[in-house]
Assembly symmetry: C2
Homo-oligomer: 223 residues x 2
DNA sequence: TCGGCGGGGATTGTTGACAATCTTGTCGCC
DNA sequence: GGCGACAAGATTGTCAACAATCCCCGCCGA
């Protein structure tokens, strides 16, 4: 989906694009906020040409929205859209998990188990920030094991569109207790090279994320 | 994934982008062929600025590949990539089919059945071109019923990257006989509002497309 | 006081020119 | 005759200026 971008790392255009993406993902620009070209020019010491190219790229990734003669805004993702995006993530990460189960090596399986152990420890100690990091590491490792470039790019793009919602998710009390056993099932299935089981476990996991997403809204959701 | 583009329909930029996309999809520019800006400027009577924007957009869709200082090429999709892309399509269209089964109205179910009847007739009469068109109509209708914007955009983007391979698929003798019953099962499951069944039927159908894709290669594949 | 109507400022859209880079063809040397 | 360096041409990368558009604000009349 996304084009390979390894070719031009370091150019002004790439720097502006990556810098702006980071800034948006970090929450420096809030959803709906206007991205004025002149400001970005100053911030990234780039020309308008470069800034516009960066904005167009990020529009392609779904992070910003451009309207003719009205400029660029940080895209606002409604709850409904967030659910849709997560539904797609559910099936694509399911595919990734299945493929990871088919291709996993012994060493990689051990790495997965190690993450699982760290996760249990983090939950037991109430270190939710660490747990959240491990969660990311787990999903990333599974994707690396699967080695599915197309699915990978899509998931990465979708994830970018959700950072804001994901962030709120991690604040939900009780989430780790819910997701820990799900993660363990995923790890176990991949370790046993059980493709179908891994896919199901991953889908159930993300399905529960969708439920959590919905519950966020009902208790005074995003701004 | 793709940004909404209804805002600027009719502008020079949109015309260049859509025109170029059509040209690539029509096979007017072959995979690997260079897209020289000067030529495109003349062809679409657009400025370089506009042409570059169009190229960048299509790069975001995965149709063209841009390399710094080396210009834009029509992206070449290897068999392996084609399989990957179709695998993702398999799971995402599965999601779409499941959702279509949940939301289908009586009228829409009748429309689906009608397409099924026409398909049977087309295969019986050996009208494979008509069958291929019906195939597209069927998938499009299912997507419309599902009303899943995010999944829709992704499938559309992926489909674009495969036109060349899809085209060859339709030439495979015996394909219609294989896929007709699969289509019938999809239609039946959606008609019965059987979400799980619809998803499975769709996935089996596209899984068989993947097999067909692989077999194409083994008998003297794409240039 | 409220609603329509310009005017001014800000912002984006577009163009053409110039600079940097790559590709190709040729020449000279080994 | 083959190989590498060089130069010319082609192509893309970047920029700054100009034109078009929109939005907000104050003004006028009902």
């Amino acid at each position: 989906m996304l084009p390979d971008r390894e070719k031009d790392r370091g150019t002004a255009a790439a720097q502006a694009r990556d810098g702006l993406r980071e800034a948006i993902l970090r929450g420096e620009y809030l959803p709906g906020e206007r991205l004025v070209e002149a400001q970005l020019i100053e911030r990234f010491s780039a020309s308008r040409f470069t800034v516009r190219a960066a904005l167009q790229d990020l529009a392609g990734e779904g992070l910003v929205q451009m309207e003719r003669n009205r400029g660029a805004h940080v895209r606002k993702v409604s709850l409904e859209e967030a659910v849709e995006i997560t539904e797609v993530r559910m099936v694509v990460e399911g595919l990734i998990a299945a493929r990871a189960a088919e291709r996993v090596t012994g060493e990689q399986a051990a790495e997965l188990s190690e993450i699982g152990r760290l996760m249990r420890a983090a939950v037991a100690d109430g270190e939710y920030r660490a747990y959240s990091d491990l969660n990311q590491r787990l999903h990333a490792l599974i994707r690396r094991i699967a080695g599915h470039g197309t699915a990978d790019r899509i998931v990465e793009t979708l994830r970018g569109q959700l950072v804001r919602h994901q962030f709120m998710l991690s604040l939900l009390p009780g989430r780790p207790q819910t997701s820990l056993p799900q993660h363990e099932r995923i790890i176990a299935a991949i370790g046993q090279r059980d493709a179908k089981g891994a896919e199901n476990a991953m889908r159930e996991h993300i399905a529960s994320v969708i439920e959590a997403l919905r519950s966020i809204d009902s208790l005074g959701g995003p701004a």
